[in-house]
Subunit: 257 residues, 2 copies
Amino acid sequence: MAMYDMTNLQYQAVYNVLSFALASMMATTVYLWFRSSAVKAQFKSAVLISGLVTFIAAYHYMRIFNSWVEAYEYKIDKEDPALTGVPFNDAYRYMDWLLTVPLLLIEILLVMKLSDEEFSSKAKALGVAAALMIVTGYYGELVVSGDLTPRWVCWFVSMLFFLYICKELLVGLAGATQSETDPIVKDKIKMAQIMTVISWCTYPVVYLFPMLGISASHSVVAIQIGYCCSDIISKCGVGLLIYQITYAKSNKEGLLP
Amino acid sequence: MAMYDMTNLQYQAVYNVLSFALASMMATTVYLWFRSSAVKAQFKSAVLISGLVTFIAAYHYMRIFNSWVEAYEYKIDKEDPALTGVPFNDAYRYMDWLLTVPLLLIEILLVMKLSDEEFSSKAKALGVAAALMIVTGYYGELVVSGDLTPRWVCWFVSMLFFLYICKELLVGLAGATQSETDPIVKDKIKMAQIMTVISWCTYPVVYLFPMLGISASHSVVAIQIGYCCSDIISKCGVGLLIYQITYAKSNKEGLLP
């Protein structure tokens, strides 16, 4: 990613938000892994995978944080940090999503009432669509200034896969959600699907920031804060919801360990 | 945060107190996580969350410690350290509180006799109040010298939320505390509530240091030592008390695993 000068406040804002996201990911990981022993055997995997998603994200946030710190340096006589020439590597986010987005979709599928065949076909279709969405999006992310045409093209192609996944989550899986008998469980599964779709909607919006006439340094700050918020909702928030769903299902069926 | 020259003694005082707080947080985390398996299933989550609070705090103390070290450097011919130009990032504390204060309130609620509806409504109200208290406080923290009016305004607004939380802890939850049958458990829950309120009272006092005519460098030292003491009491102290409450409740009901 091309680098831009930051004021002290801009640099600190990104720095603190990245650290906050890292702490959230680590804490959620530990909680989910500990609590995976509190649900019925058939749901342990869903809770473990939810913790795996935040674990992978914690690793990448550590890398992103370090990359941000290495890209700038403070000098004794200046308030604002100066560029060091080391590029800030935003590709970590795409590497992260390539692993975590398919896992996020699988953790939602794992708590739903699906036959083995349905699970396997849905997981494959959603996993492939997610990978294509991320790979096409990444190419456009390399362009943040100058002629933005490639960024627009990538945005449109990536959106096609994005809309397919949203359709599957909201419509394709509606039948399985309706078949839940417990109203609390049903509501929570619906909430996990809606939270995922809504928090994901911020990614294509954030992606558009450089096209909205926002200056390069402002758009870098807005992109980083936007992605952090979306990641916390879609990974920590949805992960904790998945745990609550499996915990409710385990209790209801009276088979807590 | 604007930086101030420190004498060798001042620098070392903050350095050692930060390291002491870090060690306390790490040790409490490990103890609570290990002991979470010693209480009844229904209380495991409360003990785990208590350990999560100190875990998140340990992470932030590591960052605060490193930031303090990077802000100053020793030279061979001088006794006192010199500023490096790298700002000391105190925002870590606010990032920490944003995560740990709601969790601290939840860990207290989790050991009380509350119905699911009461728990959920209290947790929401206290969580939102805590977040607002911290966000409003943070804005004022950016001002430590010059015109302190914004710091005063932030202090008052933040105090409103603070007083609401204290009122809820001491009055709103008094009924649930009274309904405990075991006198030892009842006393310990009362103590957790009072310890939380008293240790929290130091935060608004520490916040006032720059307004009390204390010089900038003295007030930085006093703020750091004050926050460390409050954090150790409210996080390690209350966390260990939560463990004792759940352990007593588990034993009493004769259902230890």
